[in-house]
Symmetry: C2
Subunit: 229 residues, 2 copies
C-alpha cells in the first residue's frame, strides 16, 4: 500500500526529497495561504498562481490579474489583496487570475516542484483532497509550511487529519512525524479551535486583529474540488 510521510517544516524538506517524482505532495499552510487559495477557487477564480517574491508577482500585472500577498502576516501595500481569505469574495476574484505571494506557503510549494502531483489544501476541501489522494494511489508527502521554518500546530493537525483518513483507507504511516500528527489530530478533533487557541500563530492572529479569519480557516468541506498546481 502507498505510504504517508509528513514534513514538519520546509527546513526538513531535504530529508524527504528522494523519490519525489513518484510522490503526491499536499502543501499545507492553514493560516492562511492554502486556505485563502481554496477560498479563491470556491469563489470562482479562474486560476491561482503562487509566486515566491513580490517582484515575481509584479511581473504578472495584466488585465484580469489580481495581485495578493503578505509579509509577516500584513498585506503588501501595492497589491490588490492581502492574504485574508475574507478578501477573496466572489465579486473580487470570479473569473480572475490570482497571483499570490505569501511568507511560508509559497516557499513550500516551490520546494516540492519535482513531485508527481502537487496540491494545496485546507480544512475547507479536506474530503475532496483525501478522495483524490486515494484515487491517485501513490505515496503521499504531507508538507507543512510552518512559520519561518518553525514547526506549527495548525498545519500539523491538518496533516494528521489527512493521515488519519488515509490510514483508514489502508495507506501506511511511515514515519514518527505522521504518527505524531495523527495523534495530535485525534486530540484536537473534538474542539479544534480550542486546541489551537494556544498556538503561536493563533496568538499572532489576535495581535494582528484578524481573529475572524480563524473561523474561515477552520471550516470543513466548503469546496468539493481539489487545487492542483
Amino acid at each position: 500500500m502507498p505510504q504517508i510521510e509528513t514534513i514538519l517544516t520546509p527546513a526538513l524538506f531535504y530529508l524527504h526529497s528522494r523519490g519525489l517524482i513518484e510522490k503526491q505532495v499536499v502543501v499545507i499552510d492553514i493560516l492562511r495561504a492554502t486556505t485563502t487559495m481554496v477560498v479563491a477557487y470556491e469563489n470562482g477564480a479562474k486560476n491561482v498562481i503562487p509566486v515566491e517574491s513580490l517582484e515575481d508577482a509584479m511581473k504578472h500585472v495584466a488585465p484580469g490579474v489580481v495581485l495578493a500577498g503578505e509579509r509577516n502576516g500584513v498585506k503588501v501595500e501595492e497589491f490588490d489583496l492581502g492574504n485574508s481569505p475574507q478578501e477573496f469574495t466572489r465579486d473580487v476574484v470570479e473569473g480572475k487570475t490570482i497571483v499570490i505571494s505569501t511568507t511560508n506557503g509559497t516557499k513550500a510549494i516551490q520546494a516540492c516542484e519535482g513531485a508527481k502531483y502537487r496540491y494545496i489544501s485546507s480544512f475547507r476541501n479536506i474530503t475532496a483532497m483525501v478522495n483524490q489522494l486515494i484515487h491517485n494511489n501513490c505515496d503521499v508527502l504531507l508538507f507543512c509550511a510552518g512559520w519561518k521554518d518553525k514547526f506549527n500546530l495548525e498545519d500539523t493537525v491538518f496533516a494528521g487529519a489527512i493521515a488519519d483518513k488515509l490510514a483508514e483507507n489502508g495507506f501506511e504511516i511511515n514515519d514518527d512525524a505522521t504518527i505524531m500528527a495523527r495523534s495530535l489530530w485525534l486530540l484536537a478533533k473534538p474542539d479544534l479551535a480550542g486546541f489551537l487557541a494556544n498556538a503561536s500563530h493563533v496568538k499572532r492572529f489576535k495581535t494582528l486583529h484578524i481573529e475572524s479569519d480563524l473561523d474561515v480557516c477552520l471550516k470543513f468541506d466548503q469546496y468539493s474540488g481539489v487545487v492542483k498546481l
Copy 2:
C-alpha cells in the same frame, strides 16, 4: 517566568541559537545515547565525555578510559562498548572515564556548546533534571537529538514530560513544538511503551534485536543526580 522551547531535531537548532548563552539546554536522545550516559553515572563512572567522531574517541585512549560508540545503532568494532545501556555495568564503568561517540546524541550536544548550562537527561533521572532546571530558574531549551535529523517520537515525548513538569512549576511554554510535545506526553503517559511501540526507532530496535534495551530506556528515576556537561 522562564520560558520553554523545544528543538525537534538538530536540523532546526539554528532557529533557536539566539541568546543561547542565557539558556539551559537539555539534550535528549532516549534511544539510547543519553540514557546510556545516565546509566554510566548510575554505575559509578567518574566522567562521561561525548565526542563527535570515532577518530576523536581514539585520541582519548589511556589507562582507565573506556571507549564506547555506535554507528547506525551497531557497536564500533574496535571499541570496548557499544551504545547499549546494558553493557555499562558497574564492573565495567565504575571509576572509569567513558568516551562515547553516537550517531545523533553527540551532534546535538556539540551544537549547543555555547549555552549557559548543558545537560543530558533521560527518563532514568527525569525528576532530578526537572528539579535542577527549576533551581537554575532561566529559559529552557529541550533539544531532541532525533534520528539523522528526523523528528522522533521518544525524544519528543520526553521533552513533553519535562515541559509538563516545568509548566506545573510556572515556567511558560513558548512555542508550538513544546505545546505539541506536552500533548504527546499526556497521551503517552498512561502506557509509554505501548504508545512508542509504533515509533520508527522502536521498530529499528526490534530489527537489531535489542528490544531489552527498551525497558532500560523507559525506566523512571533510577538516578538522583543530573548529568552536566
